[in-house]
Structure formats: C-alpha cells, structure tokens
Symmetry: C2
C-alpha cells in the first residue's frame, strides 16, 4: 500500500509512505543507518538485506528518550563528517520516534540538508511520528524544543517489525491512533472499538487509516499554523504529566492517553463532549492497556506547567478538544483558568 | 528601495529587502537582537531606537569567525529559553555574515523555527550573505558544514552602517560584488571598473545591483541544485586558501578574490576567458585593495583539499568559471586533474 504525501506549500516536498514488507531500496550514494542497540539486534540484518548502496555505515546511539539530545545529534554529525558523507548521501532512521526525530534533525542540518528515510519500528512511530516531518531533540526546558520541520524522502512501514514490540509500547502506539480517531473519524473510532488488535490485518488497517489522516493534516498545514495543532489533542495535558514524572514513569503514548482523559474532563465541563462518550473513550483506552488515571498533587503547579510548553504562544494556552462528539475537533484559546482548574480537580490526590 | 524576494519553490517564502536608512519596525511579540561587542558599540543604539516591541533582549556573542560554532548557537538558544521566548518571537541579526549565519541557524531550530530579520552591517553581508537564506556554522572539518536553508522575514540594509567599516572589510565586500558582476552582468562589471566606490551613491547602486542579482538567482534555485552554485565562483579555490591559512590570514572576501584569480587561470587554460580579460579582473581587484596572489607550497596538497569541500558531491569537483567572457558563467564537473594542476602551477612558490 502506498500513501502519497504532497505538502501544498512546496513543490519539492512530495514523498510516499509504503506500508508493506520491505522491498529492495537502491541508492547511488553513501547511506548511513541510524539506530540503537536494541533495534539493531532485532531488525538491522533484515534492513541491510534490502539495501543496495556504494557503502553503508551503521551509527548507533544509546536507547532511550533521555538520549534524544543535541549531544547525540552532534555525535551522529561527527561520525558522518569523519566518514566523509557528502550532500548526496542518505540517512535512514531505523527505530522508534526518538531515532526518527534525531535522524531527521541531523539530516536537516548536515551540510544544510541531506535526504533521509524513515523506517519506523514501533507502532507509535508507524502511525504517527514517522509521518509529517517534525524532527528535533529535548533539552532541560522540555521536549522537542530544538528541531526543524524537515520531510523525509520516503517512509517504509513494515508491520512485521511489530512482532517483536513489547506490549506496553504497542499500546502507546494505539493511544495515538485513538487520538486521531477521536479528533477526525468516528468510523475509525468504532473500528478500534469493535475489532481486536491482536489480528495483523486489523493492525495494518489501523496503521493505514492513521497515516492517511495524518498525511491529510500535514498536507494542509505542514508548519502547524492551523489544523495540524489538532494532533496535539491529549498532548497539552500529557506533556505536563510527562514533565512532572520526569519522562520516566510513562511512555509518550501512555501520557497522551492520560492527557486525553484530562482533556475530556474539560470538554465535558464546557459542554463539548457528553459524559457518556468520555466514558466510552476512557474504557477503550483501558481495554487497550493504557493508563487513564494520574494523581495531581498541586493543581496550580500543574496549570503553571502549561506555560513551559512551546505551543503556548505568547501566554495563550491552546486546548484541543472534541467539538460536541467523537470524530470532531476544536481549538480553544480562551478557556478561563477556573474551568481548567475545575477539570484538574477531578485528578487531585 | 525595496527588492522583493519570492522563492519559487514555496508559497511561504516571500520577503522584502529594504535598502534605506532604518525606519520604524514594529513587533507584537518579544524580540532578541543577536550581535557582537564590536558592532553593538557602533550600531545597537540606532537599531534599538527603531524597534517597537513588548520586550527586547540583546544577546552578544564574541566577535570573529572562530566563534561561528555550534557552541555559540547553543548558547544563544539557551538564552532564548531562559528568557521564555515563544514561537512568535523574532530574532534580529545585527552584524556581518558570521552573526547573520548563526542567528539564522538559531532561528531555524528554536522551537522548530521562529522568524528572523537580517540587519547586515558589513558590505559583504549587505551585498551577499544576508540575502538567500544560507545559514550555518563551521566545525573542524570546514566552513558552513552544519546549517540550514532558512529564509529571513526581511532584510534591512542601511548603507550608513558602512561609514564605520574598516577599509579591509569594505574591500572584502567589493570582492563578492565583483564576483557577481563577472558571472552575470558585464554592465555591472564596467560600472565598478569606471566609477569610484568612495562615493555613497555609487555604493548604494553597487549594493542594489548585487542584491538584485543574488535575489534573482535564489528565487530560481534556493537549495543550490543548479544556478545558485554559480555564486561559488572563486570559492572553490578560495575555500582551500582559507583552509590552508587556518581562516586567520584572509577575510573571506579576500580569499574569494584570490580564488577568482586562480579560477581565471584555469579558465584561460581551458579557453573560457581571454588573458586580457583575466588581467582586467586582476587589476580591478588590486585597485580595490584586494589580494590576488598566494604562494602554493604543494599543489597536490592544494588539489586534495578540494575534496574536503561540501560542494564536491561524490568526488566530482565543480568548477565555476566564466564561459567565454566577463558576464557569463559555466559549471564544469569534468575538468581533468592535469588542467587544474597546470593552473595551480602558476601560484607555485
């Protein structure tokens, strides 16, 4: 299956997303695969067997979100320079979101930009992170605060990679797919509600639908000046949860699951979602082994953390919420602090 | 005078270049001026008097090409984070090419991209570096090897800034203007040949013509996949000269002047330029206080250095040369090593 990406703002940003077993990929110049030791052990061999190139370098960075730093990017850059990569070389990101984000960011700045290809190995990266060209690293001020919008040349999604994925990481990917369904597609939501994700065919359907939705959004709004912000549903709250737990307790998708439940509390208060639908969403998340509760010690402190988020332009916090029911969305920038605190109260310890 | 930039590949990359005394510039969000102590002392006050913004931060980096590093960029980023700049903030580059390149690169990655404005204070930055969106830093492998193509929101060129510019730096800017004339515009070449650059009106004409030519090239080919490479005339040789002298002996424009004389030797050998025209160019450079001689100790070593240049894609060195006479250009990728060595012989110690 091939899903074309065609970002409207630019002629040069066309590429395809392939959802299939990896076929042969040919390169006329040097290639570097960026990966981590965990993924490398599982999937490097199979990727290498599909690549034909004058030379292939493998660059490993340590596994984990805590290594998604500018220092890791600089170390990848250094390896590329010492191996004399030129402007026509290609970087391949083999791994989850961390590897994809760092490889893309590295590619964006190596000699002012070389090609890169996404080969996502986690469900989260397959349904979300690998599509759309957001790249970057974390720093002490927060997540993804340094980066670039830089589109890959292609995305190769191989569902077979998921066979080795830990259950918790699989669930984290499902959270992002559910997020997209709640915002954009009631039919997709019902599909997830009524079908088992133990079935490979259903997983492929889930990936394809997610990628189609994401591609559609990115094609309309690459730089997140409008509709792309809707993809942050669950993230405004989720980022604070991640931040307060120092990015160690929850996987990103898990924090987003909690964040969606929090956002829904606010939506219910504002009359933008029925209690009944909020409950259906919460139960679906729980059925998919995702956390939905979080104890907030200090709701004022939690509220203050919104302002650390880079999306809070000039002090206005944008809340992404359903707009009446599942499958609809709205961006609210004028929600009174009291309403937000009222929603957070429900999570108070 | 306003020269519009409209890069064809993208809707969103329109901006203006203003050549005039600075007028009032208004901002609705925070502004950071990035500059160095030397420029700050001379021009910060006059820039500040034109800016209206909720708050203005001044960030100074040390003066000099040796500080055009990723470390300087990281220190600017850190100051922006600690001052809580958001996505709608604007960076203003007040200085020469080094400040402009670093500020643009910083802007490209701060929260995946914020606006930046170029206020070039050297002739070189006014006629060349501030236009076209090439940003970046040097590293131990060479110049501008890490960076981004990132267009400013506007360029404000104030010719009055040149009154305080050292004579040597002024000459370095003239070199880049002569470069553009040789490649694209015989009439402009004759203008420089026949008029004094002691006259302010002539300087403004020179800046305007250079910027028009550069804008035209960048509009056609932002990412240097074609005609933009022509702007590297004199640079292939010049970069080696800079590298061999560890970026300390010559200003960039001075090295380009030497590089053009070397390129012209090659052009004469290949029948692409008459000896007479090569001589006229050399004399014009000398009349403008630019160096035109360089003693090469080891021509093989000099040749090897071409391969360190990032423009030497996959081992093919691209030589940019006049194509028969002044005002014309060609890109040659198949020049035999012997011809190049023959040209270099003329500079042998």
């Amino acid at each position: 299956m091939v899903i074309p990406i065609d970002i409207k703002s630019s002629e040069s940003k066309k590429y395809n997303i392939y959802i299939e077993k990896l076929g042969r990929i040919e390169f006329s110049h040097k290639v570097a695969i960026v990966t981590n030791p965990t993924v490398s052990k599982l999937h490097l061999k199979s990727l290498l067997s599909t690549i034909e190139a004058p030379s292939v370098e493998v660059i490993e960075v340590p596994d984990g979100e805590e290594y998604k730093t500018i220092e890791s990017v600089l170390s990848i850059l250094d390896k590329l320079f010492s191996a004399k990569f030129d402007r026509k070389s290609t970087l391949i990101a083999l791994g989850g979101g961390v590897i994809g984000d760092m490889t893309g960011f590295t590619a964006s700045m190596y000699q002012r930009g070389v090609d890169f290809i996404q080969v996502p190995t986690t469900l989260l990266a397959q349904v979300d992170a690998s599509v759309g060209g957001k790249t970057g690293v974390n720093n002490s001020y927060g997540k993804n605060l340094i980066g670039a919008f830089y589109q890959p040349r292609a995305v190769y999604i191989n569902p077979l990679f998921l066979n080795t994925l830990p259950k918790r990481e699989f669930a984290a990917g499902v959270a992002e797919a559910i997020k997209m369904a709640i915002m954009f597609d009631k039919e997709m939501f019902d599909f997830i509600l009524n079908n088992t994700l133990e079935d490979e065919e259903n997983i492929v359907k889930l990936i394809a639908k997610s990628v189609e939705l994401k591609a559609d959004v990115v094609n309309q709004d690459e730089k997140e000046s409008g509709i792309r912000a809707v993809l942050n549903y669950g993230h405004t709250f989720g980022h604070v949860v991640e931040n307060l737990t120092h990015y160690t307790r929850y996987l990103h998708g898990e924090a987003v699951a909690i964040g969606m439940v929090m956002a829904n509390e606010l939506a219910v208060i504002l009359g933008l979602l029925s209690e009944q639908e909020a409950k259906v969403i919460q139960e679906l998340l729980e059925k998919n082994s995702l956390p939905t509760t979080f104890v907030i010690d200090d709701i004022e402190e939690f509220y203050e953390h919104f302002y650390l988020d880079k999306k809070s332009a000039a002090g206005n916090i944008a809340f992404i919420l359903p707009n009446g029911s599942i499958g609809t969305h709205t961006i609210k920038r004028d929600i009174p602090k009291e309403s937000v605190l009222l929603a957070l109260e429900k999570f108070k310890g």
